[in-house]
């Protein structure tokens, strides 16, 4: 394998990892603080993509559309918390899973009604459609670099928010001791709504960033949510640091596995056998990694503190 | 006399807080050894380490000379250790008799038996009824567990502990939440067990402890500050200062 290809695939893995982190961080925040499993988190990713797509056509500019779409997805998250999620906090995880599964059906069908059954392509401004040379014959699409940049910026912003702001302090306190935060006289309900909205915005952002590459489509949230689950299981549910590291790990392993596993296999088996077995194994790779991590550390790599 | 249970220098911390601090204690054969201590002294943490739901950071637990410090809870039960719970810990979805019959079933080897309906196994049901009669619940055997009163739940806990016919019984506050009359009845029940089992009794009710115990240990901040007969403990100044004086 040549280095150029390797670098490109590493960048692709990084991009996937960062998108996964944007989705997983909201999941893990909501679970860590609210003890709430939100299957419909993937729907917010999808809605972010659709809203951004519509706004791109309405406003004529992708970046502007993202800026407007972000608060909108946050608002949807906020409303979801107010109307559905709030009544489910006291219920067991089974009820939460079933109700949010119902919510997925509702969101998916709403998207179907509003945007139709076809996917919607999202056009980029000209300056984002080109490629950037990173030295030699290494050409990388500008937009992919933007995704990586935006993902890193969002991750950095989240770290800053959680570790250095008053809201972040409350979030961390709420994750470890809910009643205490309530006892301090802080409006815990408001905090919960904010966390939910924040998670929705992060997932929505991921959807907006991927839409120009894959189109906005119904059900796009349904496969990423499982991968995001794998990320937070490996990282340790409730841990943002764990989610970040696990997201990059999973993103890189998945991408590199799909790209290079057959080359790797052909080193010690016939190329025909490698061609047959490599796709199957690379499809299962991240789940096998998950099983391995769980076998060694059932609480994930960075288990949250005992509550 | 020989020691059934030996706890040697047990330590357990939770995020910098020492819940168990160099705890050493023995329970002799046939002895009823009571552990008292103020709230937050680490009594429940101690029990958890004895029955295996928590693993100590250091120290050893010996049962009849065998090191069981890191043994899984169900294996300790096989060796002959049983426990009751401070907060009633019954299987609420099942009937009163089902709860006790399950405890009896646990003694008969594995339960990978799929064919015969468990409720038709006569000896389990009969023995279960006997035990429930012994704790005064004869007329409640077929009730739903969830429908019983708190006092009745405490008696069920005892019947289940008895079902194990364990050599060592760890009783975690059997009087918790009982009224005066109920407490007296429970003391009478426990008196009937003395000598037949070795018992480690954790209890808040001082009258009960002083009426029942052969020896008493006082636990403060995870450490045993004194051990002795009821009379010795009553006269111990350190104990009075640390604990009894405040009551």
């Amino acid at each position: 394998m040549d280095t150029t290809l390797l670098i490109i695939q590493v960048l692709n893995g990084l991009q996937l990892g960062l998108l996964l982190f944007l989705v997983a961080s909201g999941l893990t925040l909501v679970f860590g603080i609210l003890d709430f499993v939100n299957l419909a988190h993937g729907s917010l990713y999808m809605l972010g993509a659709f809203i951004c797509a519509s706004l791109t056509y309405a406003l004529g500019n992708f970046l502007l559309a993202v800026l407007v779409a972000l608060p909108l997805t946050g608002l949807i998250g906020w409303l979801t918390e107010r109307v559905i999620a709030r009544t489910l906090y006291v219920r067991d995880h089974l009820d939460q899973v079933l109700a949010t599964f119902g919510l997925i059906l509702v969101f998916d069908t709403m998207a179907h009604i509003i945007w139709g059954p076809q996917g919607i392509a999202v056009p980029l401004p000209d300056w984002l459609t080109g490629q950037v040379s990173l030295g030699g014959d290494l050409l990388v699409p500008t937009f992919r670099l933007l995704i990586i940049g935006a993902g890193l910026a969002a991750a950095g912003g989240l770290f800053w928010l959680v570790n250095y702001t008053r809201l972040g302090m409350l979030i961390r306190a709420g994750a470890s001791n809910r009643t205490m935060v309530g006892a301090l006289g802080i409006d815990i309900q408001l905090l919960f709504s904010l966390v939910f909205a924040l998670g929705a915005m992060l997932a929505g952002l991921a959807g907006m960033l991927i839409a120009p590459i894959t189109e906005a489509s119904i059900g796009m949230g349904n496969s990423i949510i499982i991968t995001a689950f794998v990320v937070i299981i490996v990282g340790g549910i409730g841990s943002i640091k764990g989610a970040f590291i696990a997201a990059l790990l999973i993103g890189l392993i998945d991408t590199l596995g799909r790209a290079f596993l057959d080359d790797l296999f052909s080193l010690f088996m016939s190329s025909a056998a490698a061609e047959n077995s490599a796709p199957a194994l690379s499809a299962m790779l991240i789940y096998l990694i998950m099983a391995l991590v769980l076998a060694l550390k059932p609480q994930g790599l960075f288990p949250p503190k005992v509550r | 006399m020989s020691a059934v249970l030996e706890i040697q220098g047990l330590n357990k911390s939770f995020g910098g807080i020492k819940a168990t601090d160099n705890l050493t204690l023995t329970v002799e054969q046939g002895e009823l050894h009571a552990v008292i201590g103020p709230n937050g002294a680490g009594k429940t943490t101690m029990i958890s380490q004895l029955c295996g739901t928590q693993v100590p950071d250091s120290g050893r637990v010996l049962f009849k000379g065998r090191d069981i410090t890191r043994l899984a809870p169900h294996r300790r039960a096989h060796l002959g250790i049983t426990r009751s719970y401070q907060i009633t810990s019954l299987i609420m979805e099942m009937s009163v008799l089902d709860n006790v019959a399950l405890a009896l079933q646990a003694r008969e080897g594995h339960s990978f038996r799929f064919l015969r309906p468990a409720r038709t196994i006569t000896h389990l049901r009969e023995r279960g009824r006997d035990l429930l009669t012994r704790v005064g619940l004869a007329d409640k055997v077929d009730h739903a567990t969830v429908a019983l009163s708190h006092g009745e739940h405490r008696r069920m806990e005892l019947a289940i502990a008895l079902a194990a016919e364990a050599e060592l019984m760890l009783l975690d506050e059997p009087m918790a939440g009982l009224g005066t009359q109920e407490s007296l009845e429970m003391v009478a029940l426990l008196k009937g067990l003395k000598g037949k089992h070795s018992i480690l009794l954790i209890e808040h009710d001082m009258d009960a402890v002083f009426a029942l115990a052969d020896r008493i240990s006082v636990l403060v901040y995870g450490h045993i500050i004194a051990t002795g007969t009821p009379a010795e403990i009553r006269g111990n100044e350190a104990v009075q200062h640390a604990y009894l004086g405040e009551e």
């Binding site: 089974l94 | 049983t82 399950l102």
Partner: protein, 317 residues
């Protein structure tokens, strides 16, 4: 007999009589609807064993159904197109044990990992393992990948000719009866008492001396294998199988059937399957957006109907 026992009997008698009656009076469609219903009911009944009685919220049971179906489809594929001689057959003597065996093995391997965890971890991990099988099948081009696989000839069985709709239905219905009887027997046995005890209070069960992990794992394997059998029937019914059968939405639907009908009741999952299929049929005949009212119904059921339909209609046990 209790009210619930009467209800159980009534549901089963109706399922035994009504669909064949429709078929014999020229309405083949309703028999085919009922066949799907009964097969999904078997899957729901087996899920109920671990979800209802064992408290294990598996969000991956569709994978077992799918694997069972592929255990019919793959041998049938090789029987027709050659290759992999050991597997190439339409005989039920190989296909059915293969469906049961492969799903039991998958349940054992994944259960070893899943059951080390609790609560929400368990839900997510079962989901993830199901997705793994989904992507595995997608990646194998020989078996159609994403596009699925047509089963050209159905399983050849002793006594039953599965090409005849009425006989296929009879087999499915009898299988449902056996599944119900099996789950009932297990639940009432000493094993079942331990399983239910471990759901109600695992810590107590351990302190009594039960290794709850081993009991849960056994139940998980039994449930997975039963679902695999249901999958083999489903493959024979649809004669077309695809990874879509294992999508986690299908797992969610199975869970919905169990909860809607009444978890930890004998007939609950069957009732749930009946309601699910009938509602899906009615709603989708009115609108292509039938999943919207369906989703709302799910939310409302979870929020307001505790104990499922069996609880509502049949009263407490």
């Amino acid at each position: 007999m209790t009210r619930r026992a009467w209800m159980t009997l009534a549901v089963l008698v109706l399922l035994a009589i009504v669909p064949p009656a429709f078929y014999l009076s020229g309405n083949a469609f309703y028999l085919s609807l009922a066949t799907r219903l009964v097969i999904l009911a078997i899957a729901a009944v087996s899920l109920n064993l671990i979800l209802g009685y064992g408290g294990m919220v598996s969000f991956g049971h569709a994978a077992f159904v799918g694997l069972g179906a592929y255990a019919v489809g793959i041998p049938a594929h090789h029987a027709l197109y050659g290759g992999w001689d050991a597997l190439a057959t339409n005989s039920g003597w190989l296909q059915i044990p293969l469906a049961v065996g492969i799903t039991a093995l998958f349940a054992l391997l994944t259960g070893l990992v899943c059951l080390r965890t609790k609560g929400v971890y368990f839900i997510m991990i079962t989901m993830a393992f199901a997705q793994m099988i989904y992507y595995l099948i997608v990646s194998i081009e020989e078996y159609g990948g994403d596009d699925g696989l047509v089963i050209d000839s159905r399983t050849e069985l002793w006594l039953f000719d599965l090409d005849k709709p009425l006989q296929l239905y009879a087999l499915c219905f009898l299988s449902l009866l056996v599944a119900l009887g099996l789950v009932r027997m297990i639940v009432n046995s000493r094993f079942g008492m331990v399983l239910q005890g471990a759901k109600g209070n695992p810590e107590r069960m351990a302190s009594l001396g039960f290794n709850t992990y081993a009991y849960r794992l056994t139940a998980y394997v039994i449930s997975g294998a039963m679902c695999g059998y249901a999958g083999a029937l489903l493959g024979n019914f649809t004669t077309f199988i695809s990874p879509e059968m294992m999508d986690w939405h299908r797992s969610g639907e199975l869970m919905f059937m169990v909860i809607l009908g009444g978890a930890a009741t004998t007939i609950g999952p069957v009732l749930g399957a009946v309601i699910f299929i009938v509602l899906e049929e009615i709603l989708s005949s009115y609108t292509i957006y039938w999943q919207l009212p369906f989703g709302l119904l799910l939310i409302v059921t979870v929020l307001f109907v505790r104990g499922g339909l069996a609880g509502l209609l049949g009263g407490r046990k």
